[in-house]
Structures are given as structure tokens and as C-alpha cells.
Point group: C2
Chain length 285, copies 2
């Protein structure tokens, strides 16, 4: 039996599935305190058997490189009670024999979209999610990128849109990508939340401009074959097309991968299942 857990900031998914990324049965519940959240997941699993593998896709920052002291732990976070909490440690008290795999929720989603989703068959894929924050998971040459921690693409500095005077909402960097293009940034700049801004609102041209510049940075550094843009703030009609048009314009003929059919940036194919599907694809990693 293979277990998957997707630990999100507000909801957690626990499931049974296959190493090919297929969910057989799942249960969604609110993320609360760490001990309680992991106990709910463990209890749901124990009622179904004893998993040989437990694969975790977690919000960050989280230690995901085997052999490092912080492996399996949530690192310094403003989320009350979670800093330094060991996810694998808590689960190992219930399932001491299981093999554990862990990565970020966005890396898991990138892996799922690259194996069975919108970028199926590609080994160089970036997945960006735009919501309360901005995050990215990156598969490069078939390997998920971690580095000294893991990508923090939301905190990328991008040029400013020439007509944008909004100072940005990131408490660390003010006008990084997340500070200028996350859901809270859009709401603060335009005075209403993204889902109340109609398709033709100038907010979406500016949003496409910032996302295109962030994606150009990904292209210059890791050269993905395809970029998936998902998350709550990406669902307005026409946003992906706008980003593709701007990328061709600002890439200025330099990046061969952009000179295709305008489908470099695409929406996710797996929707809200990408994280949990990706957790199963981490089996044995």
C-alpha cells in the first residue's frame, strides 16, 4: 500500500494510490495544528492498512534533501506551531517501517504535470502557482530542483511595469514578483480581489506583463521546455495567451523554444489533484 499526503497551508489531502500517480481513494480535511493534522492523516491511513511507502508533498519551507539535518522538517515559517516540526518524524511514530519520500507541493505538482499532465513526456518543466503567494516547482533534466533549500521563485526581482506605481506587498522585498503579482498584491493595487476584476480590466495586462518577465527569468536560467501556470489567480480567460504573446515580444527572437505555436505557457491539466498525484510519483525517491 502506497500512501500520499499533500500538506497545504489551509487543507490537507491524504490518499492511497499508485507509483504512476493515480489516486485510488482520498480524504480532504482542514490543516490545523501540526500534531492534530498528521494524526488525522495517520488515522485515516491506519483504517486502511499499513503503508510500505509514504510520500509527502508539503508547503515550504521544508527540508527535502536526504541526508541533511533538516530532512522531513518544516523550517522557519510564520505558520503558528509548524516551525521545526518533523513531518516524517510524526508519521514514523505510527508507521515506523514505512519508506518516506518528501518534496515541496509545487515540486510534486511540477512532477505530476510533467509525467501525466499538461507537459507529459517532458523532462524540463516549470510549474508556477499564483494565489496568496507565488511559488514554482522545477523539473530539470528529469530531476526536481532543490539547491540549498528549494526554489523561491515568488521572491524573484523583476523589472517594474512602466505604468505601475504600486509599491508591492511582500513584507521582505516589497516589489518582488510575489509582492507585485500575487492575489493580495492585485487586491491591494486595484481595490478589489482578483476574482471581481473582469476579463477586460487593465489589471490582467499588467499581471501578464509581470508573469511574462518572471517566466523569462526561468527561461534564462533553467530553460524549461514548457511552463505551466496555475493557481486561483491564473484562471481568468485569456491570461495564458497574453503571457505567450508578451514572451515572444520580450524574448525578441533569442530563445528558440518560444518560436513555436504560442503554447509555451499553458494551464495545468490536473487542476487541484496535481499535488497529490505528484506525491505518489515521488515513491521511492
Amino acid at each position: 500500500m502506497i500512501a500520499g499526503i499533500e500538506l497545504g497551508g489551509t487543507k490537507t489531502v491524504v490518499a492511497i494510490g499508485t507509483p504512476e500517480g493515480k489516486v485510488v481513494e482520498e480524504f480532504r480535511f482542514p490543516t490545523t495544528h501540526p500534531e492534530e493534522t498528521l494524526a488525522v492523516a495517520a488515522e485515516w491511513l491506519r483504517a486502511r492498512g499499513t503503508p510500505g511507502d509514504i510520500c509527502i508533498a508539503a508547503f515550504g519551507p521544508v527540508g527535502v534533501v536526504k541526508g541533511r539535518e533538516n530532512y522531513g522538517k518544516i523550517l522557519a515559517t510564520p505558520k503558528a506551531g509548524w516551525s521545526d516540526f518533523s513531518l516524517t518524524g510524526a508519521l514514523a511514530e505510527v508507521f515506523p517501517e514505512a519508506r518516506y519520500s518528501i518534496d515541496t507541493d509545487v515540486n510534486a505538482a511540477a512532477l505530476a504535470e510533467a509525467r501525466i499532465g499538461a507537459a507529459a513526456g517532458l523532462d524540463d518543466v516549470a510549474y508556477i502557482t499564483i494565489g496568496t503567494g507565488i511559488g514554482a516547482g522545477i523539473l530539470s533534466g528529469g530531476h526536481l530542483i532543490h539547491g540549498s533549500l528549494h526554489p523561491e521563485t515568488g521572491h524573484l526581482k523583476v523589472p517594474r511595469h512602466p505604468e505601475d506605481t504600486f509599491k508591492g506587498v511582500c513584507p521582505f522585498h516589497a516589489d518582488c514578483l510575489e509582492g507585485l503579482a500575487s492575489g493580495p498584491a492585485i487586491a491591494a493595487r486595484w481595490g478589489k480581489p482578483a476574482d471581481e476584476l473582469p476579463v477586460g480590466h487593465p489589471a490582467w495586462d499588467m499581471q501578464a506583463w509581470y508573469l511574462a518577465h518572471g517566466i523569462l527569468s526561468l527561461l534564462a536560467i533553467v530553460s524549461p521546455e514548457k511552463v505551466i501556470v496555475g493557481g486561483g489567480v491564473s484562471q481568468v480567460a485569456g491570461l495564458h495567451e497574453k503571457i505567450n504573446r508578451l514572451l515572444v515580444e520580450i524574448g525578441a527572437g533569442y530563445f528558440p523554444v518560444l518560436l513555436t505555436d504560442g503554447d509555451y505557457v499553458v494551464p495545468p491539466a490536473l487542476g487541484q489533484e496535481a499535488g497529490i498525484c505528484g506525491a505518489f510519483l515521488l515513491t521511492g525517491s
Copy 2:
């Protein structure tokens, strides 16, 4: 016998060495037309034996992913005669039995600095070179990053220095990192070449500012444990210290790897030997 070839824009190095990156004997000569350049290298090698492995570190764009149609070829380049020239093809006419490995000169240099140089022992390292152009090689989790092509970090868009009105020299993007911080950009902005600008000239504060912003993008996307900055335009005294100070300032406490001893960005340890040493480290890849 293991052969290494570093093919640069103006000079080529051919050498015999070890898979640990040690050069036993080398010969440097000017890069001319492709057939002639490769013939000089092959002749020098043939006088010394028949290499079982030939490892190439080449200027880009170049096809470096095994199995792709463009593997071993120089791709579209303004360098006369080189577009679509197969490096491995030309050498295989002389040494048909050899095993070939190929990567970019900057990836080879990154690998050398990570194995036997300024970042020895680390698996997540970026190497940036600043000269006529700007390029980067990136080792991530022990794997060199290629993606759909290979990193083109020089063409990263960065915010503009608030006091900089220079429009930039990149023929594609004007004010990308290379357009604002390469040797030709510095010469055009300040009216004299970088090596004539004294240590206290304001050019160097602006240069550090642009490099710090480019490195912050690398940090947000691939999270290197250490960044090596080399190349002709990086050799002015104090530049690396300036970049480190700025990175701590603009990182604003968010990136744990910056909260160390101010030695996140360092000069190369292998100098102009990094590329050829790195070629040998590609043996069997």
C-alpha cells in the same frame, strides 16, 4: 588516454588529462574557422596517441543533451562558419572509436569549481563569467542544468539601477543583464573600457548592483550554495565584497544561505584553467 578540448570564441585549448580534472599536458591556440580549429586539435592529439575519451567544453549555443538531433553541434551563432557545425562529427572522422562528452564552457567551469575549485564538495553551484558577454553554468543537485537548450543567464531581465539611464547594448533585449553589465556595456556607458576604470569609480557600485540582482534571480530559482563570479570584468579589487553586501541588503533576511559570513559570492579558484579542467570532469557523462 583522455583528451579535453575547450573551444572558446577566440582561443582553443587541447589537452591530455585525468577524469579527476587534472591537466597533464596542454596546447593553446587561436580559434579560427571550424574545420581548421578542430584539425589543429586533432593533429596535436594524434601526435600523442589515440584517445579513448574526448571531452569537449564549447562556447554556445551548442547541443549538449544526448539523444537530441543537435547533440554535439554548434547552433545558430553570429560567428562566421560555425552555425550547425558538428564538433563531435568533425572529431569522429579522425577518432571514430572515441567516446564523446560535451557541455558548454561555462557548465564545464561550474563543474570544475564545484569539484576541485572554489566550491569544492558542493553539489549546488553557479558559475558566472563576465567579459564580452555574460554566461552562467549551473550545477544543481550534482547535475549540470541544460533544459531545452542551456542556461542563457546573460539574457536575464533585471530591475534597472535607479540612477542608470544607459539604454543597454544587447542587440536582442537592450537592457538585459548582458546589455547592462557586460564589458562592452561598461565601456559604452562610461566612455572607457572596464580595465581603465579605477577601483573607486562609480561604475563598480553600479556593476555590483546589477550582478547582485542577477544572482538574486539565480538564488530564487536554483538556490545555489555558492556562486562563483569570474571573467575579465570581475577582477577589480573589492567587487565580490560589494556584491555580497548588496545581496544581504536586497535578500532582506529571506534567504538563509545569505545569512552567513559574507562569502556567498567568491572569485574562481581555477582561473583560466576552469574550462579545460571541467572538460576532463565530463569524462563518461
